[in-house]
């Protein structure tokens, strides 16, 4: 805080004038350093709208050191003339004077003196004028008195060239009364306190304004993972559409349920070591519904149910191999088989969202594990039109117009459904997509490693917005 006395004096001065004051003028008239006035202005500004101060800059002319000397004692040439006696002076003596050299040449060009080179005893100088007008000194004196404006630009520049004048820029404030002007200063409160509320003193107080430009304090809170937030929304959509959640908490699956039951042949490339994670421990599954297994073997190797089958030697050993499931459709197969074992068929709508595993080459959009979203509807007489219709409704809820590229869909083959024991005429429509892909689109993430796994930057999790899929 600046000197309170000075602040108050300043306020009194501002009160007395109608228009405003220049801080430089105040400094001059109070005989204090300009910086002290600037300090007072700043501290008054911090108090709110007591005064308003507008920064301005002005240029003015000032004498240099040499200029001051001339203003006091006269120009060099005038001093040369006045130092020469009637009988003249040897040139060598004149040159010994401080102002001699400069004064001599100027006085010569003004024709105030003359040089007698042939004088006995060396060159000698004589005055040629008795009285002279020292214009340089007069001009400098005008500037010194603050009347520089009376000189012509050309004259000032001439003196500047002679290093007698210099132009300086002065910064100052133009101070006027503010909307809350007062000549007495009250200290502003920073915050409302319990005491103020209790005593009612807040009514009398002035409060320091807040800086609304600044950010608030970062809160110390917990966060949900963005992929899981999207999962929650997908669950919500399925539940809204009347779909029941399937138990997908079995990452390890037999090849039988993952492939064979879906009528995927045992030589299919997806069953290759390069695409699927096989288990060495526990390496094999050991319990299957025997009659169903037999029907699966038959439809693969011999056909049936209207199919020619694949006509190959179906091996139980292949079906027994345990794997990390490559899709959640393995669970759908288990659920549909279970449904087929009911006394009477009832239509179902099922969904799941859970992890699946692929032994793939990893890149920016592929990891060895990801989440699959799956929807399944089983009923009598479902048609392709129904599949298109339900997909449309589902993806509408997602707010996705071009959904064809995001997922897969279709009707399960009769070679899959009939061996399970589902009644003829029951069709099953199904679709699937990954959870990661729409999440990456939603949150604008290009590399899947920035979304899932232990290497993610927690800041991304902290900063992720809520998930509203339809907006």
């Amino acid at each position: 805080m600046a000197d309170t006395g000075l602040v108050e004096t300043l306020l009194q001065r501002v009160e007395k004038v109608d228009g405003g004051l220049d801080s430089q003028d105040v400094a001059t008239s109070l005989g204090v350093d300009h910086q002290a006035i600037v300090g007072a202005v700043k501290s008054l500004q911090a108090l709110g709208d007591v005064i308003s101060a507008e920064q301005r800059s002005s240029k003015h002319w000032e004498l240099t050191g040499e200029g001051c000397e001339i203003a006091e004692q006269g120009s060099h040439e005038a001093r040369v003339v006045s130092s020469i006696p009637e009988e003249g002076m040897p040139q060598s003596q004149l040159m010994k004077l401080a102002f001699g050299k400069v004064g001599f040449s100027k006085a010569m060009s003004n024709k105030w003196i003359r040089l007698d080179k042939g004088h006995e005893g060396g060159p000698r100088i004589f005055k040629t004028v008795e009285r002279l007008e020292d214009l340089v000194r007069d001009k400098l004196l005008l500037v010194q008195k603050g009347q520089a404006s009376e000189l012509e630009e050309k004259e000032k520049n001439e003196l500047k060239k002679r290093k007698l004048l210099s132009e300086v820029t002065v910064k100052s404030y133009w101070i006027t009364k503010g909307s809350c002007f007062s000549t007495t200063i009250t200290k502003q409160e920073t915050e409302l306190t319990t005491e103020m509320i209790a005593s009612g003193s807040w009514k009398e107080k002035k409060f320091k304004p807040y800086n609304f430009e600044a950010m608030g304090v970062a809160l110390d809170c917990g966060h949900l993972h963005p992929l899981m937030k999207v999962r929650t929304q997908f669950r919500q959509i399925f539940l809204e559409m009347g779909f029941t959640e399937m138990p997908t908490n079995n990452f390890i699956e037999s090849s039988f349920w993952n492939f064979d039951s879906l009528f995927q042949p045992q030589q299919h490339p997806a069953r290759d070591q390069h695409d699927t994670f096989f288990l060495s421990d526990p390496a094999q599954a050991h319990e299957f519904p025997q009659d169903y297994l037999e029907r699966v073997r038959k439809v693969h190797s011999e056909g049936g149910f209207g199919s020619q089958g694949y006509k190959y030697d179906w091996k139980i050993e292949e079906a027994q191999k345990n794997i990390l499931r490559t899709h959640t459709t393995a669970v759908s197969a288990r659920m549909l088989y279970k449904l087929a074992q009911q006394e009477k068929f009832t239509p179902v709508k099922y969904f799941s969202i859970d992890r699946v595993f692929r032994n793939e080459t990893l890149d920016a959009t592929h990891l060895a594990e990801f989440h699959q979203i799956e929807g399944v509807v089983a009923d009598f007489g479902l048609t392709l039109g129904d599949l298109m219709g339900i997909l449309h409704q589902f993806f509408n809820k997602l707010g996705l117009k071009k959904w064809v590229e995001v997922g897969n869909s279709g009707m399960f083959r009769p070679e899959m459904l009939l061996p399970m024991g589902l009644p003829e005429g029951v069709t099953v429509i199904a679709w699937g997509l990954s959870l990661e892909r729409p999440t990456m689109i939603k949150y604008g993430i290009n590399n899947i490693r920035e979304l899932v796994g232990h290497k993610v930057n927690l800041q991304m999790v902290y900063d992720s917005p809520v998930c509203r899929l339809d907006s």
Partner: protein, 578 residues
């Protein structure tokens, strides 16, 4: 899905028009294909080996198209064009013909082959004219088939020969490797089969196929009537009968362990190229059990009506199918359709495959959308419902949710947690490509600690949790393993913060409506666990059962996860609370 790479301009030329990339993408979609990538040889080389290597490579534009795994007829330019052009062209009808001037060729299969590679089928393409492009496509189709339907030559291997350099009848037999001797393709001298196997050990291409017969007592081999070796399937052909641009008649043999696949492959090789050639000769082939003559077209009869969900006349559906190269006729009952399946369409094995083509021809987007009337009541899986509710409240308690991998290294769940792998009940993966996928996790703790390690720059304290599944061996399950839903949380700061993690556990119990106390309540009791600092670990009991642990981690665990500060952790099984 296999990817087929074709030169764009050649493709457009064959299709008789050009497309923009978008139009072509759309066209692919209509036929169930996917335009995967637009690139050039130069691009591919520069991406894989750097710009300098790519200099001078061709910058002809290539389309990479994903085709369904069972559509072997789309694996080459010729097949793709036929697939994409069906609307415009008359369905080709393939015919097996006998040579006018000579006896049909024969391939005699001896019983010795049963021990190693029991099946073979063969055909002859006559009066053909190769251009460089057709020749390249012919070789490439062979390679594509080898990689896909032939399962890297294990199921089927294809050999193609210049028929005019050899003379039938041919013999497919099997002999001890030492007894087989010939000059293999592109070699200067003769080798025995044994020598060949060691010669090809270092061949970047062929070494992948050696294992198929390497350990067999006899190797398969095909001779002509003069004893010339045509091939030693599935490894290499003889040099003598190799085909060239000047070849006029091609002898194609497919040897196999799967006869169905062998027939499919032979059909593909023949039908894909017959369009260039005036006379296709597809001859009788002998196998030990009798004569294999390609059957006439299989016919399939189906009732299309229930499938579409729209009433479309049976006549119209028959027309659509015919356009898709599946010649169809409405049967006398007016409801059923009889469909002729060409040999190119080995993927058609059920009436539903025919109906899929009908839908494709109709245009999926032209099918009116309907809403199934299926009325059902939705249910959440109780375990997932509980997990969802707890997640919300753990975040409200100031903990941040992590999402870590279910697969990890053995070290992550054992050594780094100061545990012995044998006590983890971990399921082990037999074919991991890297150590990151050796086992399924048995705890969520290592994933959380790795997350902390990757985020050491973040302001302290770090409070993380995850509710997810671990996998444990379990003899009582059909697959011998089961998932187990866990809740795990860690607190990482300058001080261990046991009281924080303890407080979190109290909060979780409160959320689950379990009161402190013995019996039906919960309590903790000091426990020994190598993962935790001695004297700083407790076992958690709820309703009389042990449900998990909490404590301050052992400094060696901290170090092994490349952490520097104290850390406390909570790990419980939430399946007890269902």
């Amino acid at each position: 899905m296999p990817t087929v790479s074709v030169k764009r301009d050649l493709l457009f030329h064959a299709l008789g028009r050009t497309y923009t990339d978008e139009e072509f993408d759309e066209l692919c979609f209509e036929f169930g294909l996917e335009l995967d990538e637009i690139t050039s040889e130069k691009d591919i080389i520069s991406r894989e080996q750097g710009d300098t290597k790519a200099e001078g490579a061709s910058d002809v534009i290539l389309y990479k198209i994903d085709v369904p795994a069972n559509r072997y007829d789309l694996l080459c330019l010729e097949g793709l064009v036929r697939g994409l052009q069906v609307f415009k062209m008359e369905a080709p009808r393939y015919r097996r013909v006998s040579p006018a001037s000579s006896e049909p060729q024969r391939l005699v299969i001896t019983k010795e082959t049963t021990a190693v590679r029991p099946h073979a089928v063969a055909a002859v393409l006559r009066n053909i004219t190769f251009t460089q492009e057709r020749y390249d496509s012919f070789i490439e189709l062979q390679e594509k088939l080898h990689q896909n339907v032939c399962r890297k030559r294990t199921l089927v291997a294809i050999g193609t020969h210049d028929l005019d350099t050899i003379s039938g009848p041919f013999t497919y037999t099997a002999k001890p490797p030492g007894d087989i001797r010939f000059k293999p393709l592109n070699q200067a001298k003769e080798y025995t089969a044994q020598e060949l196997m060691s010669l090809y050990k270092t061949d970047s291409h062929l070494r992948h196929y050696l294992h198929i017969i390497e350990d067999e007592a006899v190797y398969p081999v095909i001779y002509d009537s003069n004893g010339i070796v045509l091939s030693m399937p599935p490894i290499i052909n003889g040099d003598h009968s190799k085909i060239s641009l000047n070849t006029k008649n091609v002898f194609i043999e497919c040897t196999a362990t799967d006869l169905t696949k062998a027939k499919i492959v032979l059909d593909m090789m023949v039908t894909m190229f017959c369009e260039y050639f005036c006379f296709l000769l597809w001859e009788n082939i002998l196998e030990p059990t009798g004569q294999y003559v390609h059957s006439d077209y299989p016919h399939s009869i189906c009732n299309p009506q229930p499938f579409f969900g729209i009433s479309e006349s049976t006549e119209h559906i028959a027309q659509l199918l015919t356009k898709m190269c599946l010649r169809s006729e409405v049967m006398s009952d007016g409801e059923q359709i009889e469909v002729e399946i060409p040999p190119t369409r080995s993927d058609v094995i059920h009436a539903c495959d025919i109906m899929e083509d009908a839908a494709m021809a109709y245009g999926f987007n032209n099918i009116p959308r309907t809403t199934p009337r299926t009325y059902t009541i939705a249910n959440q899986l109780p375990l997932n419902k509980l997990s969802e509710l707890l997640r919300q409240d753990l975040a409200a308690a100031g903990f941040t949710e992590a999402l870590t991998f279910a697969l990890c290294s053995q070290e992550d769940i054992a050594d780094k947690l100061l545990k012995n792998i044998s006590e983890t009940r971990a399921c082990r993966i037999s074919n991991p490509k890297t150590a990151e996928f050796q086992v399924a996790r048995t705890t969520l703790l290592s994933g959380l600690l790795k997350t902390v390690a990757a985020n050491r720059k973040m302001p302290l304290p770090l409070r993380l949790f995850e509710i997810s599944d671990v996998v444990l061996k379990d003899e009582s399950k059909d697959v011998g393993a089961r998932n187990n839903r866990r809740l795990c949380a860690v607190y990482y700061n300058k001080s261990p913060g046991f009281e924080v993690i303890h407080g979190l556990m109290d909060r979780v119990m409160q959320l689950l409506e379990i009161k402190p106390g013995q019996g039906n309540g919960y309590h903790i009791q000091a426990a020994d666990d190598s993962t935790f600092f001695p004297g700083r670990c407790a076992e958690i009991f709820a309703c009389g059962k042990s449900i998990g642990r909490l404590g301050v981690l052992h400094p060696d665990v901290i170090n092994r996860f490349e952490l520097t500060m104290p850390c406390s952790a909570l790990d419980i099984d939430i399946e007890h609370f269902l």
